[in-house]
Amino acid sequence: MKARLQTTLQAAVKTFPLDRSWAFTLSSRLLSLMGIVIVVAMLPWLSGQDPALALLRARYSEQNPTPETLNAIRESLGLDQGPMALMLSWLKGLLHGDAGISWVSGKPILGDMLNAAGVSLTLMGFTLGVSFVLALLLCIPTIRRGLRGQAYRSSGAFAVLLTALPEFVLASMLLLVGSVWLGWLPTYGWKGISYVVLPALALAIPTAGYLGRLLSDNIAQVFTEAWVATWSVAGVSRWHIVLAVLRRALTTVLPMIGLTIVALTGSVVAIEKIFAIPGIGRATLGAAVSKDVPSLQLGVLFMLVFAFFIGMLVNVLKAMILGQALRQGAMPIPKEADVILAKSTRLIPVMCLLLLVVMTCAGITRDPYSVEFMRLQAPSLALPFGADAMGRDLLARLAHGSFYTCVLAIVVALVSLLLGFVIGQFPRLMAGPIEVANALPPILSGLLVAAVYGPGLVGASIAVILVSWAPLAAHASALTAEVKARPYVQMLPLIGVGVIRRNVFYVFPAVIKPLLRHAMLRVPGIALTLASLGFLGLGAMPPSPEWGRILAEGLPYIERSYWVVIAPVSALGLLSVLAVSTASAFGNRR
């Protein structure tokens, strides 16, 4: 029976020209996408408390939950039919253009959300336009070097710096410089073209820095391919060569462009909050904080659909540009280029770490909670960073915050490492979840977790873990496969070592060291993500001195006293440079 089944399966696999693993990966991908949609649909139930009670709290926070009122709410929303029925009716309603009514205002939400989505898409369009122009500008030096036959990857310190700053930190800086100090552009709102400039720049600069770096790496690599030399010897014009090289390099970068655009959907949330833009991100964030579940569901769904769409688009584009060569597996292989790492690339992370440690040491003895100074007191010798809006010592708050953030980030990294290791043992089964978690912006997962768990430090940590296990799992599965293929592991059964002992005493020790290094390299990045969730009000709660929180609390006073923004922005800036430069200076040592 079993043998027959096996032969039938084998025959089925043979009749389809697909690789078995390919079909497996695709179904894993689809299943995990369906999984997320189901999670979104089930949000009202996942919070662990009665949805009717949640709604009551959301709408009339002061009313007492009597059984009668709760029953009335249940009936009016059809909550009494149970989660399955409600999920189906939610999905059915969506198909008919009915996304339900807000738990807060009691009005239908679809129209408002569509308007908000329009605003966000406009912002996104401007951002992408600016990003591509900037990214191409960043590539010009590499192209010129390539044409002169000196293709090498630049260390790109400038581009690294651009990439390093997360959008919400950069936006605060731009706001400070562009509208407060120079007064050229409006601070908040969405009333005309001049209102797009700062938000679009804040989103585009990090994106362009990242894409520009990737693209110029690829361009340098493509210039080493043999055909470029053949073309130039044959007298093909430089312009044609540049176009062909760009086309080749772009296709390699395309999947990353897709991922970057998807990641932008998360950043848009922060940017819309800072600049008070009435887009989908701000609406969803507001819904998450006020526990208006239907609006949150719709907002998250919009972002997911957008992300899925971008993924499809990128695949189609890639197939169109590469076409025949991709199908026939005839892509030329680039020569392995030497990565020239300047000594300064090692120096940057060390300097950043040193500065952060000095700041922490200087402030750790001071009191971060008590109100000892004037509100918004200006910096002085006794008070190096000034005081915040409540009159608390900013240096003390930042110092305590760094300790707090570091410990939490390390814990999150270790939990992600553990999860990643375990999940990495089943690479084919988990290919879809790994991909989805890799693409899911942490802010989106933060929104989902906040809706389930309520905003807070634990929720934020869970949200970060939900996305940060994925790269570690991918790494773990690659490492495990490599270790299991080693002859001494393959031959272990011969000396009586069983499967469990093999995994625990032979595979694990060989895998854990590089994996631990990888996880530690991610600590600054994780700290930054936690800060961004804190900034959005999805993470640490007041009065805890969390950096993102400090920045968010200072931002309203930016026009009166810039130091409440400068201090957290510089601390976060140092942390971001540390995050990116550690990864690029120590990350590619294999």
Binding site: Q10, P487, Y488, M491, P493, I495, G496, V497, R501
Partner: protein, 264 residues
Amino acid sequence: MSQVPFLQLETLRYGRDRASDIIPSLSLNIGQKERIGLVGESGCGKSTLLKLILGVIQAQSGQIHCEGEPIRITPWRPMNHYRKLVQYIPQDPHTALPPHQTVATLLSEPIKRLKLGTPDVAMLQRAIEQVELPHSVLAQKASELSGGQAQRVALARALIIKPKFLLADEPTSGLDLPLREQVKALLSQVCDENQMGLLVVTHDISMVSGLCDRMLVMQQGRIIEDQPTADALRAPNNIYTQRLLEAVPTVHANAWQPSSLLSN
């Protein structure tokens, strides 16, 4: 050798599908204490056959019997009895020993896992003496050993189990020439001392002629030559064996004369 052969392979098949099987169908009997050399080109299925016999991979069909008992591979149930009878030394000793373990640890592992007793220093020292290494090696890590030392340690680990039969996968190909001779001599010596059979996969015909009393030649997963070594070398049954023998490089002291090149 009148009774049941030590190992019986019956119509073994291994491969992804019938059109491109690595081993389409292979039967072979191996007697007690027999020393066999297996030669063939790269990719002919020698190493696969070795792994099949070792029970590291499972044949799609066919059966292996050892001393009349069928060998069945199950990933969760250890085949300890078979492991004690048949052991293996690897092709590349550097990748075949866990690099982070000391020689003492990696020698004790099979003793503990196969429940051969409790490993004590005397036992380990005897094992290491048998392969002509100093006792100090025991404290070293596998990654610190030289190629020749590592191969000897691998051999010691196989011998400590006191198997009746040893399989060797190109045991000398990773070593330089003087070391090859030493390992060859050592193999011959330990087989004599331990009354052990040997199946050695090799590219080195001199190894077969010096060490083995039976020679097998494999081509595309089939055994095309199976004779006593002396006969196979003198009068091969198969044209392919003949070519293989002719391709053996021989060194003549006066074969290369720079002057003759110049005069041309």
